[in-house]
Symmetry: C2
DNA sequence: CTTGACCTTCCCATGGTGGTAAGCTTGATG
DNA sequence: CATCAAGCTTACCACCATGGGAAGGTCAAG
């Protein structure tokens, strides 16, 4: 039943590039893959599942360090979901901060752009404001 | 009237670290600074202004490449504010995309966390969902 | 003259991903 | 069987912006 495949197939199935699969192995996020006689990496279904897990976590913006923790919890049968939840909520908070930062930039820049005529003359409130150390 | 200072003072006045000032010079964003006989970099008010400009642009999330363009426009007397505005609006759009991405992550993760009891048992919808290749 | 604070250059690290080159393996086709 | 393309291997280099640190020179105050 278990399907064995090489790195290209594992990449296709998990959505993680071969490059990154090797990288994940290099940084210890994945156990070193078994090899064929010709030194080709071999992956089983469980390995592909783990790659899928990592991919999903990346898509939620978790860092590699956090993902290492999540993978550890995932593979621990008697884990506590409280720990997972805490990790997740901490990341939600981080995302909120980043979103606020971006929004602050966005609205400041948009306000500047609205003050600029954009009519081809050299006068430009955007540049003037950037040059003014009082950020005003 | 013009105040000359060394890199530490320029850093203090502009808010850009000495480290980064040297880096900006290295990548060509700043003209190579004049030097004292002892090879210390010397900065004048205009240089500090340019550093302030760069700092402000960084705080709005512009990339170094965009900042190089902005600095170029800033220092061009017969520039067109339309060009500046276009750069700014393009960056607003980039920020909007990043914000949307973050918000998508945020809400997906928050929804997952809400489904998790966090009561100390091993059952965890967060991990289950990450492991499911159907992202559902 | 010593001391401490500053400056100089040079190298390394981060994080996550991509590219590329040189060389080996595999499988299919002529 | 020879060949060729596609895929694998490792080992580098690059991005972007920033920080850290080492080893050594300089300057000003005590």
């Amino acid at each position: 039943m278990t399907q064995f495949c090489n790195i290209g197939e594992a990449a296709k199935r998990s959505g993680v590039s071969s490059k990154m699969i090797r990288h994940y192995e290099g940084i210890g996020l994945l156990a070193p893959a078994r090899r064929t006689a010709a030194n080709y990496r071999v992956y089983c279904d469980a390995d592909v599942n783990q790659l899928t897990f990592i991919k999903s976590a990346r898509e939620l913006g978790f860092s590699m360090k956090q993902i290492a923790l999540l993978v550890g919890l995932w593979q621990t049968p008697d884990r506590s979901n409280a720990e997972v939840r805490e990790l997740a909520m901490a990341h939600v908070q981080t995302l909120d901060e980043r979103i606020r930062d971006m929004q602050r930039m966005r609205s400041a820049l948009h306000a500047l752009a609205m003050r600029c005529q954009g009519d081809g003359r050299p006068e430009c409130p955007i540049l003037d404001t950037l040059a003014d150390q009082d950020h005003s």
